[in-house]
Symmetry: C2
Subunit: 212 residues, 2 copies
Protein backbone atom coordinates (compact mmCIF):
# COMPACT_ATOMS: atom_id res chain seq x y z
CA UNK A 1 0.00 0.00 0.00
CA UNK A 2 1.37 3.35 -1.02
CA UNK A 3 0.74 6.26 1.22
CA UNK A 4 0.35 9.59 -0.50
CA UNK A 5 3.16 11.62 0.99
CA UNK A 6 1.02 14.59 1.86
CA UNK A 7 2.90 17.77 2.41
CA UNK A 8 1.84 18.95 5.84
CA UNK A 9 3.84 22.17 5.85
CA UNK A 10 1.86 25.14 4.63
CA UNK A 11 2.67 26.90 1.42
CA UNK A 12 3.17 30.18 3.25
CA UNK A 13 6.00 28.62 5.24
CA UNK A 14 7.66 27.15 2.16
CA UNK A 15 7.51 30.49 0.40
CA UNK A 16 9.56 31.99 3.21
CA UNK A 17 12.29 29.35 3.17
CA UNK A 18 14.15 30.78 0.17
CA UNK A 19 14.23 34.15 1.92
CA UNK A 20 15.74 32.55 5.00
CA UNK A 21 18.26 30.72 2.87
CA UNK A 22 19.30 33.84 1.07
CA UNK A 23 19.62 35.89 4.23
CA UNK A 24 21.62 33.17 5.99
CA UNK A 25 24.01 33.04 3.05
CA UNK A 26 24.44 36.78 3.29
CA UNK A 27 25.10 36.62 7.04
CA UNK A 28 27.55 33.78 6.48
CA UNK A 29 29.43 35.91 3.97
CA UNK A 30 29.48 38.74 6.47
CA UNK A 31 31.25 36.37 8.86
CA UNK A 32 28.37 36.04 11.30
CA UNK A 33 28.16 32.60 12.88
CA UNK A 34 25.14 32.79 15.09
CA UNK A 35 21.80 34.56 15.04
CA UNK A 36 18.82 34.76 17.37
CA UNK A 37 15.26 34.84 16.10
CA UNK A 38 15.17 38.45 17.24
CA UNK A 39 18.14 39.35 15.11
CA UNK A 40 16.67 37.55 12.12
CA UNK A 41 13.44 39.41 12.71
CA UNK A 42 15.19 42.72 12.18
CA UNK A 43 17.00 41.45 9.11
CA UNK A 44 13.95 39.92 7.46
CA UNK A 45 10.95 41.81 8.75
CA UNK A 46 9.33 38.61 9.93
CA UNK A 47 8.33 38.37 13.60
CA UNK A 48 10.68 36.41 15.85
CA UNK A 49 7.82 34.13 16.87
CA UNK A 50 6.98 33.55 13.25
CA UNK A 51 10.53 32.58 12.48
CA UNK A 52 10.69 30.12 15.35
CA UNK A 53 7.32 28.71 14.37
CA UNK A 54 8.51 28.23 10.79
CA UNK A 55 11.68 26.40 11.79
CA UNK A 56 9.74 24.30 14.26
CA UNK A 57 8.01 22.65 11.32
CA UNK A 58 11.23 20.91 10.41
CA UNK A 59 12.49 19.85 13.82
CA UNK A 60 14.92 21.55 16.13
CA UNK A 61 17.18 24.05 14.46
CA UNK A 62 18.69 26.10 17.22
CA UNK A 63 20.04 25.90 20.71
CA UNK A 64 18.03 27.32 23.56
CA UNK A 65 19.78 30.29 25.05
CA UNK A 66 22.22 30.59 22.15
CA UNK A 67 20.20 31.10 18.96
CA UNK A 68 20.76 29.47 15.60
CA UNK A 69 24.02 28.36 14.05
CA UNK A 70 24.11 29.92 10.63
CA UNK A 71 26.18 27.34 8.77
CA UNK A 72 24.08 24.49 10.07
CA UNK A 73 20.79 26.20 9.46
CA UNK A 74 21.75 27.20 5.95
CA UNK A 75 22.65 23.64 5.07
CA UNK A 76 19.43 22.38 6.52
CA UNK A 77 17.13 24.80 4.78
CA UNK A 78 19.05 24.29 1.55
CA UNK A 79 18.46 20.60 1.92
CA UNK A 80 14.74 21.03 2.61
CA UNK A 81 14.47 23.12 -0.55
CA UNK A 82 16.37 20.46 -2.44
CA UNK A 83 19.28 22.62 -3.53
CA UNK A 84 21.47 19.56 -3.53
CA UNK A 85 19.11 17.60 -5.77
CA UNK A 86 19.89 18.46 -9.35
CA UNK A 87 17.05 18.74 -11.83
CA UNK A 88 17.17 19.36 -15.55
CA UNK A 89 15.41 22.10 -17.37
CA UNK A 90 14.91 23.40 -20.85
CA UNK A 91 13.87 26.82 -21.95
CA UNK A 92 11.32 27.55 -24.65
CA UNK A 93 11.68 30.95 -26.26
CA UNK A 94 14.99 32.73 -26.49
CA UNK A 95 13.82 36.29 -26.81
CA UNK A 96 15.36 39.01 -24.62
CA UNK A 97 14.07 37.52 -21.41
CA UNK A 98 15.02 33.98 -22.29
CA UNK A 99 18.41 35.29 -23.25
CA UNK A 100 18.74 37.09 -19.91
CA UNK A 101 17.93 33.91 -18.01
CA UNK A 102 20.35 31.81 -20.06
CA UNK A 103 23.08 34.35 -19.66
CA UNK A 104 22.71 35.40 -16.04
CA UNK A 105 20.48 33.27 -13.89
CA UNK A 106 22.47 31.04 -11.52
CA UNK A 107 20.63 27.81 -12.20
CA UNK A 108 23.39 25.64 -10.74
CA UNK A 109 23.35 27.58 -7.49
CA UNK A 110 19.71 26.62 -7.11
CA UNK A 111 20.14 22.98 -8.00
CA UNK A 112 19.16 23.09 -11.64
CA UNK A 113 20.92 22.50 -14.91
CA UNK A 114 19.73 24.20 -18.04
CA UNK A 115 20.26 21.62 -20.74
CA UNK A 116 18.64 22.92 -23.88
CA UNK A 117 16.99 25.94 -25.45
CA UNK A 118 14.36 26.01 -28.16
CA UNK A 119 13.00 28.74 -30.35
CA UNK A 120 10.92 28.98 -33.47
CA UNK A 121 12.67 31.97 -34.97
CA UNK A 122 15.29 31.36 -37.65
CA UNK A 123 17.29 34.31 -36.41
CA UNK A 124 18.13 32.72 -33.06
CA UNK A 125 18.13 29.01 -33.89
CA UNK A 126 21.72 27.86 -34.14
CA UNK A 127 23.11 30.75 -32.12
CA UNK A 128 24.86 29.93 -28.89
CA UNK A 129 24.10 31.55 -25.56
CA UNK A 130 26.18 30.80 -22.50
CA UNK A 131 27.31 27.54 -24.04
CA UNK A 132 23.86 26.41 -25.13
CA UNK A 133 23.06 26.20 -28.82
CA UNK A 134 19.47 27.12 -29.56
CA UNK A 135 17.52 24.32 -31.26
CA UNK A 136 14.52 24.68 -33.54
CA UNK A 137 11.11 23.84 -32.06
CA UNK A 138 10.80 21.01 -34.54
CA UNK A 139 13.42 19.11 -32.58
CA UNK A 140 11.54 19.36 -29.28
CA UNK A 141 9.73 16.05 -29.57
CA UNK A 142 12.83 14.08 -30.47
CA UNK A 143 14.76 15.77 -27.67
CA UNK A 144 12.08 14.90 -25.12
CA UNK A 145 12.21 11.25 -26.11
CA UNK A 146 15.90 11.05 -25.34
CA UNK A 147 16.32 13.34 -22.34
CA UNK A 148 14.68 13.84 -19.01
CA UNK A 149 12.98 17.21 -18.77
CA UNK A 150 12.11 18.06 -15.19
CA UNK A 151 11.09 21.64 -15.80
CA UNK A 152 10.27 23.70 -18.87
CA UNK A 153 10.91 27.42 -18.61
CA UNK A 154 8.34 29.36 -20.61
CA UNK A 155 9.42 32.65 -22.13
CA UNK A 156 7.27 32.22 -25.19
CA UNK A 157 4.99 34.72 -26.92
CA UNK A 158 1.51 34.82 -25.36
CA UNK A 159 -0.32 33.21 -28.25
CA UNK A 160 1.99 30.22 -28.52
CA UNK A 161 2.09 29.35 -24.83
CA UNK A 162 -0.99 27.21 -24.41
CA UNK A 163 -0.17 24.93 -27.33
CA UNK A 164 3.40 24.51 -26.21
CA UNK A 165 2.31 23.60 -22.69
CA UNK A 166 -0.16 21.05 -24.01
CA UNK A 167 2.55 19.56 -26.19
CA UNK A 168 5.08 19.43 -23.37
CA UNK A 169 2.62 17.76 -21.02
CA UNK A 170 2.02 15.13 -23.69
CA UNK A 171 5.75 14.65 -23.84
CA UNK A 172 5.82 14.02 -20.11
CA UNK A 173 6.91 17.35 -18.65
CA UNK A 174 5.43 17.80 -15.20
CA UNK A 175 6.67 21.21 -14.06
CA UNK A 176 6.68 24.67 -15.63
CA UNK A 177 8.35 27.92 -14.73
CA UNK A 178 6.07 30.32 -16.50
CA UNK A 179 7.21 33.86 -17.33
CA UNK A 180 4.42 34.55 -19.79
CA UNK A 181 1.37 36.51 -18.86
CA UNK A 182 -0.81 33.54 -19.72
CA UNK A 183 -2.91 31.85 -17.04
CA UNK A 184 -2.26 28.27 -17.95
CA UNK A 185 -5.61 26.75 -17.05
CA UNK A 186 -6.35 24.01 -14.57
CA UNK A 187 -3.88 21.44 -15.75
CA UNK A 188 -3.93 18.01 -14.15
CA UNK A 189 -3.24 18.14 -10.47
CA UNK A 190 0.03 16.32 -11.02
CA UNK A 191 1.42 19.14 -13.15
CA UNK A 192 3.23 21.89 -11.27
CA UNK A 193 3.09 25.46 -12.40
CA UNK A 194 5.12 28.31 -10.94
CA UNK A 195 4.26 31.70 -12.36
CA UNK A 196 6.30 34.87 -12.47
CA UNK A 197 3.96 37.53 -13.68
CA UNK A 198 5.49 40.95 -14.22
CA UNK A 199 2.18 42.65 -15.00
CA UNK A 200 0.46 41.37 -11.85
CA UNK A 201 3.39 42.61 -9.83
CA UNK A 202 3.53 46.11 -11.24
CA UNK A 203 -0.23 46.54 -10.97
CA UNK A 204 -0.05 45.64 -7.32
CA UNK A 205 2.64 48.26 -6.91
CA UNK A 206 0.46 50.81 -8.70
CA UNK A 207 -2.41 50.09 -6.35
CA UNK A 208 -0.20 50.67 -3.35
CA UNK A 209 1.21 53.88 -4.83
CA UNK A 210 -2.32 55.18 -5.16
CA UNK A 211 -3.73 53.93 -1.86
CA UNK A 212 -1.03 53.76 0.80
Amino acid sequence: MTILKKNSVSDAVIRRLPRYLHKLTELYERGIENASSNFLMEELNISATGIRQDFCNFGEFGQRGCGYNITKMRARIGHILGIDEERHLIIIGVDDLGHALLQNFPFEQNGFRLEAAFDISQSVVGTSVHGITVKPMTELERYAQHHEIDVAVLTTPQVATQDIVTKLIELGVRAFWNFTNVEVPSVDSDVLLENINFADSILHLKYRILND
Copy 2:
Protein backbone atom coordinates in the same frame (compact mmCIF):
# COMPACT_ATOMS: atom_id res chain seq x y z
CA MET B 1 -7.44 67.44 10.17
CA THR B 2 -6.13 64.88 7.75
CA ILE B 3 -7.36 61.38 8.10
CA LEU B 4 -4.90 58.67 7.18
CA LYS B 5 -6.65 56.94 4.31
CA LYS B 6 -6.15 53.48 5.63
CA ASN B 7 -6.47 50.76 3.10
CA SER B 8 -9.13 48.47 4.47
CA VAL B 9 -8.98 45.90 1.68
CA SER B 10 -6.61 43.07 2.41
CA ASP B 11 -3.45 42.54 0.45
CA ALA B 12 -4.58 39.06 -0.59
CA VAL B 13 -7.59 40.56 -2.34
CA ILE B 14 -5.52 43.21 -4.12
CA ARG B 15 -3.08 40.57 -5.34
CA ARG B 16 -5.95 38.81 -7.07
CA LEU B 17 -7.27 41.89 -8.86
CA PRO B 18 -4.68 41.83 -11.66
CA ARG B 19 -5.57 38.22 -12.34
CA TYR B 20 -9.25 39.14 -12.62
CA LEU B 21 -8.39 42.02 -14.90
CA HIS B 22 -6.30 39.86 -17.14
CA LYS B 23 -8.88 37.12 -17.38
CA LEU B 24 -11.68 39.59 -18.06
CA THR B 25 -9.66 41.08 -20.88
CA GLU B 26 -9.17 37.65 -22.34
CA LEU B 27 -12.89 36.85 -22.09
CA TYR B 28 -13.69 40.21 -23.67
CA GLU B 29 -11.42 39.37 -26.58
CA ARG B 30 -13.14 36.02 -26.91
CA GLY B 31 -16.37 37.93 -27.36
CA ILE B 32 -17.93 36.88 -24.06
CA GLU B 33 -20.10 39.57 -22.53
CA ASN B 34 -21.27 38.09 -19.29
CA ALA B 35 -19.88 35.72 -16.70
CA SER B 36 -21.17 34.20 -13.48
CA SER B 37 -18.96 33.70 -10.45
CA ASN B 38 -19.20 29.97 -11.17
CA PHE B 39 -17.84 30.42 -14.67
CA LEU B 40 -15.03 32.64 -13.41
CA MET B 41 -14.25 30.02 -10.79
CA GLU B 42 -13.51 27.49 -13.51
CA GLU B 43 -11.45 29.95 -15.48
CA LEU B 44 -9.39 31.17 -12.55
CA ASN B 45 -9.32 28.38 -10.02
CA ILE B 46 -10.68 30.65 -7.33
CA SER B 47 -13.87 29.60 -5.55
CA ALA B 48 -17.08 31.28 -6.68
CA THR B 49 -17.71 32.47 -3.14
CA GLY B 50 -14.22 33.89 -2.96
CA ILE B 51 -14.74 35.81 -6.18
CA ARG B 52 -18.03 37.28 -4.97
CA GLN B 53 -16.46 38.14 -1.64
CA ASP B 54 -13.55 39.89 -3.38
CA PHE B 55 -15.79 42.00 -5.60
CA CYS B 56 -18.03 42.79 -2.66
CA ASN B 57 -15.16 44.82 -1.18
CA PHE B 58 -15.62 47.41 -3.87
CA GLY B 59 -19.39 47.70 -4.01
CA GLU B 60 -21.87 45.99 -6.27
CA PHE B 61 -20.40 44.64 -9.48
CA GLY B 62 -22.93 42.27 -10.89
CA GLN B 63 -26.62 41.74 -11.33
CA ARG B 64 -28.40 39.13 -9.26
CA GLY B 65 -29.61 36.30 -11.42
CA CYS B 66 -27.54 37.43 -14.40
CA GLY B 67 -23.88 37.45 -13.36
CA TYR B 68 -21.28 40.07 -14.13
CA ASN B 69 -20.98 42.26 -17.18
CA ILE B 70 -17.45 41.82 -18.46
CA THR B 71 -16.88 45.22 -20.03
CA LYS B 72 -18.14 47.04 -16.98
CA MET B 73 -16.25 44.88 -14.53
CA ARG B 74 -13.04 45.18 -16.48
CA ALA B 75 -13.26 48.96 -16.47
CA ARG B 76 -13.98 48.99 -12.78
CA ILE B 77 -11.16 46.72 -11.72
CA GLY B 78 -8.80 48.57 -14.04
CA HIS B 79 -9.81 51.77 -12.33
CA ILE B 80 -9.30 50.33 -8.86
CA LEU B 81 -5.81 49.26 -9.89
CA GLY B 82 -5.18 52.71 -11.31
CA ILE B 83 -4.51 51.63 -14.86
CA ASP B 84 -5.80 54.99 -16.02
CA GLU B 85 -3.48 56.93 -13.71
CA GLU B 86 -0.17 57.33 -15.48
CA ARG B 87 3.01 57.17 -13.44
CA HIS B 88 6.59 57.70 -14.52
CA LEU B 89 9.39 55.29 -14.05
CA ILE B 90 13.08 54.98 -14.70
CA ILE B 91 15.16 51.86 -14.97
CA ILE B 92 18.56 51.41 -13.39
CA GLY B 93 20.71 48.79 -15.04
CA VAL B 94 20.38 47.94 -18.71
CA ASP B 95 21.82 44.46 -18.74
CA ASP B 96 19.93 41.64 -20.47
CA LEU B 97 16.97 41.78 -18.16
CA GLY B 98 16.75 45.56 -18.20
CA HIS B 99 16.97 45.39 -21.95
CA ALA B 100 14.17 42.82 -22.07
CA LEU B 101 11.91 45.04 -19.99
CA LEU B 102 12.67 48.13 -22.05
CA GLN B 103 12.09 46.25 -25.26
CA ASN B 104 9.05 44.16 -24.45
CA PHE B 105 7.20 45.02 -21.30
CA PRO B 106 3.93 46.84 -22.00
CA PHE B 107 4.37 49.63 -19.48
CA GLU B 108 1.74 51.86 -21.11
CA GLN B 109 -0.85 49.11 -20.95
CA ASN B 110 -0.39 49.07 -17.19
CA GLY B 111 -0.50 52.80 -16.72
CA PHE B 112 3.20 53.54 -16.62
CA ARG B 113 5.62 55.44 -18.79
CA LEU B 114 9.26 54.50 -18.82
CA GLU B 115 11.04 57.81 -19.15
CA ALA B 116 14.72 57.13 -18.69
CA ALA B 117 17.32 54.40 -18.38
CA PHE B 118 20.62 54.55 -16.52
CA ASP B 119 23.66 52.33 -16.51
CA ILE B 120 27.21 52.57 -15.31
CA SER B 121 28.79 50.61 -18.14
CA GLN B 122 30.41 52.55 -20.95
CA SER B 123 29.35 49.88 -23.41
CA VAL B 124 25.63 50.56 -23.04
CA VAL B 125 25.57 54.25 -22.13
CA GLY B 126 24.54 56.20 -25.21
CA THR B 127 22.90 53.25 -26.90
CA SER B 128 19.22 53.46 -27.62
CA VAL B 129 16.68 50.81 -26.67
CA HIS B 130 13.06 51.08 -27.74
CA GLY B 131 13.47 54.82 -28.17
CA ILE B 132 15.19 55.42 -24.84
CA THR B 133 18.82 56.52 -24.82
CA VAL B 134 20.72 55.07 -21.89
CA LYS B 135 22.23 57.73 -19.64
CA PRO B 136 25.29 57.38 -17.44
CA MET B 137 24.70 56.97 -13.70
CA THR B 138 26.47 60.27 -13.12
CA GLU B 139 23.47 62.04 -14.58
CA LEU B 140 20.98 60.43 -12.21
CA GLU B 141 21.01 63.19 -9.62
CA ARG B 142 20.55 65.97 -12.12
CA TYR B 143 17.78 64.02 -13.81
CA ALA B 144 15.95 63.49 -10.51
CA GLN B 145 16.03 67.21 -9.79
CA HIS B 146 14.22 67.99 -13.01
CA HIS B 147 11.82 65.07 -13.42
CA GLU B 148 9.28 63.29 -11.34
CA ILE B 149 10.29 59.70 -10.65
CA ASP B 150 7.39 57.67 -9.33
CA VAL B 151 9.05 54.28 -9.55
CA ALA B 152 12.61 53.08 -10.04
CA VAL B 153 13.00 49.68 -11.67
CA LEU B 154 16.02 47.90 -10.26
CA THR B 155 17.88 45.52 -12.55
CA THR B 156 21.25 46.33 -11.08
CA PRO B 157 24.08 44.00 -10.05
CA GLN B 158 23.62 42.68 -6.50
CA VAL B 159 26.48 44.62 -4.94
CA ALA B 160 25.42 47.98 -6.29
CA THR B 161 21.75 47.76 -5.34
CA GLN B 162 21.75 48.93 -1.75
CA ASP B 163 23.74 52.08 -2.48
CA ILE B 164 21.58 52.93 -5.44
CA VAL B 165 18.40 52.51 -3.41
CA THR B 166 19.76 54.72 -0.65
CA LYS B 167 20.69 57.34 -3.19
CA LEU B 168 17.32 57.20 -4.93
CA ILE B 169 15.45 57.53 -1.64
CA GLU B 170 17.53 60.63 -0.88
CA LEU B 171 16.49 61.94 -4.27
CA GLY B 172 12.85 61.45 -3.35
CA VAL B 173 11.94 58.17 -5.03
CA ARG B 174 9.22 56.43 -3.03
CA ALA B 175 8.59 53.20 -4.94
CA PHE B 176 10.81 50.44 -6.29
CA TRP B 177 10.21 47.52 -8.59
CA ASN B 178 13.06 45.29 -7.54
CA PHE B 179 14.31 42.49 -9.82
CA THR B 180 17.56 41.95 -7.94
CA ASN B 181 17.97 39.17 -5.47
CA VAL B 182 18.73 41.71 -2.75
CA GLU B 183 16.44 42.04 0.26
CA VAL B 184 16.32 45.78 0.51
CA PRO B 185 16.10 46.20 4.27
CA SER B 186 13.38 47.86 6.29
CA VAL B 187 13.22 51.15 4.48
CA ASP B 188 10.97 53.88 5.85
CA SER B 189 7.37 52.82 5.96
CA ASP B 190 6.54 55.40 3.32
CA VAL B 191 8.76 53.69 0.76
CA LEU B 192 7.10 50.99 -1.32
CA LEU B 193 8.99 47.96 -2.48
CA GLU B 194 7.69 45.34 -4.89
CA ASN B 195 10.01 42.40 -5.37
CA ILE B 196 10.25 39.94 -8.22
CA ASN B 197 12.64 37.29 -7.07
CA PHE B 198 13.47 34.61 -9.60
CA ALA B 199 15.51 32.52 -7.17
CA ASP B 200 12.77 32.43 -4.52
CA SER B 201 10.34 31.33 -7.18
CA ILE B 202 12.40 28.51 -8.63
CA LEU B 203 13.31 27.19 -5.19
CA HIS B 204 9.65 27.02 -4.33
CA LEU B 205 9.09 25.05 -7.51
CA LYS B 206 11.94 22.72 -6.60
CA TYR B 207 10.40 22.06 -3.20
CA ARG B 208 7.10 21.15 -4.80
CA ILE B 209 8.80 18.91 -7.35
CA LEU B 210 10.40 17.00 -4.51
CA ASN B 211 7.42 16.92 -2.13
CA ASP B 212 4.17 16.90 -4.04
